[in-house]
Subunit: 450 residues, 2 copies
């Protein structure tokens, strides 16, 4: 039979073993950080009934979704982690305790047009806090502070979390008497960075907005400066509309609490141009940019919503959440050479090289090392010594442990550091101490090195 | 709009937060154990092209598979982790180093008839070692020894790994001149435990096997005793067929090395009735039973194969692997009450309870605790004190940290141990030490308690 040519589908990331170690290290830091903030892990099914997943219905999402029949069932693969969360919270609301804080790091599916750096299967790393009826503003500061902590522990430093408040925006448009056009205007203003003020003004006028109103809008969105400068400038609009005033109070509380959470001002900015496309955000919104790579867009976005699960329940479940597009972020980091290759990516710390036919002693020593927490392989194949060392070098295993007749007789081991080439003979116990000390030095550093 | 009633598909496990912690703890122990033995993690796509996944084709599998069209593409969800491994190893063979040791813990999909304890989406936890052309017998001992270690660390003790060798079986049937019927006979013999020797003999005779041959077969499969007794009894068949002799040598080496790996004889048994249904096993085969629950069948199975990727490449890739049906195992452990509920399942170690409107100090203290590795939540909602404590109790958070005007003025915190009810006032630094010490006591024990 002629073999089938194996391939991996385009738009599906599949990593080499050493890259996988780097990816896993990032996942581990994210989940440990989320846990430290008291978030609980969820692992919902990848498949849901289509009527559940598409309850909100319509739009771009529906075209991209992986949807299929199995028997009588109309099924779909999840396209984000928010809809499954809404389902989960509704379904288990009597067993859950609110505010409910959950994180989920999992794969989602979108049949986007395949292109470099775009994925059809990709990880999202989400955190959300869901309140029962209400939710304090401090949660809206905690969410970006967690992202700040996580990114910092990953080793990212050249990033900025941009925050805004939908109430401020909607309030401002209400002041101008443009409430009904707010959504359309925000879509136009969103292009400011790309096409510039003049073209935005033309588009606004095309949308039947007067030249004066367009100037007001552009003057509003051009408010920049330090966070206190922006807040001061916004104070000028105060007292004209309740929604605006509430939004400004929230934005003020947010910046105050972000400082309390220890987020340095260089890592967050009130930015009035941020609106987020999704209608369901009602308060604070976030985007996060890599300062040296604005071209890749936001690597972490989210916001405050008033009604997580309106399609499933009449119960009001306000919340705030944020999502990291992890697969894409990892891809970009790799492309830019930002992954720290100095950290170990080998599958083992030690390769035991038996020089005798019987492997018993090699296995015993390997078991001893493993019981000490040292990741150990025994090279079992009957190959020449050079081939065995090549194996260790290719996998970048830092230590080879040589075990010939001499060593067995003298109850010692020969420890070869494959990074330095230095080989020393010592007792088994000394070898363990020696190896652990060196491994500690190889654990220094963060996964990302900008 | 009337809400869509949310539900989770039947056959899809979805856990409550505390159960999820217990599941994750098991996954973590498995992956840490696999890593300690020098296995590298893979995370292949859940979707593959159907021609790749079904290259082997036919059979029960094809009926159960989740297969669908997306645009022009004929896609399927993976139904095990072995076929994706075969694809991966073929695709990246020039970048991989052999023997290639990989683990993968991931979801697979089979549209089985839904029934209690049967899952359509379930985790498998696999390890495989793949050789390039050849692979030493010691690997066939290492694989079950890893399972022994992993199960022991999980807290399982009432289990036994049953091992056999297909060469011994095929060699024995060759001695009887029944090579062509070997596969059919093994299927009948597989029923021995269920239907007894007499009915098996009848079935064998129905399959045109003489009464004398049937007696020989039953006498062979009734060989039991300690491992050395079984091996001694098998020695009586030696010298009649090369395949049998090779198989017996392998079985002998396997039991020798299992002892070297430190697996106690009570946890493994040479069992001549084990054959495994799959044709592609060619040497050692494994099954693992829970001694008190034989009714649930094998919780961990695998074996040695000569040709992992014959459908993708002409290259010979022999290997040995084993797979834990993790979702089903977890379900059974839960049903039997074997999950250790004494280990913490709360989302946080400490709940900070601010008694003032401004949350700044509560947040600062929470950030301090987090920086010390203590999982901390701040209760942010404006509720009565009792409601706040109820929140902590429902989530079984062990500590509440009370922060009123008095505490703020005196620069102390009131630490309430919610397990014991004892409340003490102390400095922040003493609180950290106190909390950590108690948490250590709550970490004693293993996830499974039989």
């Amino acid at each position: 039979m002629s073999p089938v040519k194996p391939r991996t589908l385009s738009g599906f990331m599949e990593l080499t073993p050493s890259r996988q170690v780097q990816f896993d290290r990032m996942v581990s830091i994210l989940s440990e950080t989320y846990k430290r903030y008291g978030f609980t892990n969820l692992d919902t099914p990848l498949i849901e009934s289509s009527d559940i997943l598409l309850a909100k219905g319509g739009g771009e999402t529906e075209k991209q979704i992986y949807r299929f029949q199995k028997g009588d069932a109309d099924l779909s693969l999840r396209f984000d982690l928010t809809v499954p969360l809404a389902k989960y919270v509704t379904l288990y609301q009597n067993e859950l305790t609110f505010p409910f804080r959950r994180f989920q790091i999992g794969k989602v599916y979108r049949g986007e047009r395949a292109q470099r750096g775009r994925f059809r299967e990709f990880y999202q790393a989400d955190i959300d806090v869901i309140g029962d009826g209400s939710l304090d503003i401090s949660n809206e500061a905690e969410i970006p502070s967690i992202i700040y902590t996580a990114f910092t522990e990953l080793g990212l430093s050249r990033f900025k979390i941009r925050v805004n408040n939908r109430k401020v925006l909607n309030g401002f448009y209400a002041i101008l008497g443009l409430s009904e056009k707010a959504s359309e205007i925000m879509q136009i203003v969103d292009k400011l960075e790309k096409i510039g003020a003049e073209k935005v003004k033309n588009l606004l006028i095309e949308a039947s907005i007067t030249s004066e109103q367009a100037d007001e809008i552009l003057s509003f969105t051009s408010i920049t400066g330090s966070n206190s400068e922006v807040l001061n400038a916004l104070a000028a609009y105060k007292g004209q509309h309740e929604l605006f005033d509430t939004g400004l109070d929230e934005l003020t509380a947010l910046t105050k609490y972000l400082a309390v959470f220890g987020v340095p001002e260089e890592h967050f900015a009130v930015d009035l141009t941020i609106a987020r496309g999704l209608d369901y955000y009602t308060g604070t919104v976030y985007e996060t940019v890599m300062l040296d790579h604005p071209e890749i867009g936001s690597i972490c976005s989210g916001g405050r919503y008033d009604n997580l699960a309106e399609y499933y329940t009449n119960k009001t479940l306000p919340g705030v959440g944020i999502s990291i597009g992890l697969t894409r972020l990892f891809y970009v980091l790799g492309e830019q050479g930002y992954l720290n290759d100095e950290l170990l990516t080998s599958p083992a710390d030690v390769l035991v090289l038996p020089m005798t036919d019987d492997l018993s002693l090699a296995i015993s020593i390997a078991q001893h090392l493993r019981s000490e927490g040292i990741r150990t392989q025994v090279y079992t194949e009957n190959k020449k010594f050079k081939a065995k060392l090549t194996y260790a070098n290719k996998l970048q295993i830092p230590f080879a442990l040589l075990l010939g007749e001499d060593e067995i007789t003298n109850k010692v081991v020969a420890v070869k550091n494959l990074d330095t080439g230095v080989q020393e003979t010592m007792s088994k116990q000394d070898a363990i101490t020696h190896i652990k000390a060196y491994l500690d030095t190889r654990k220094q550093g963060k996964p990302i090195k900008e």
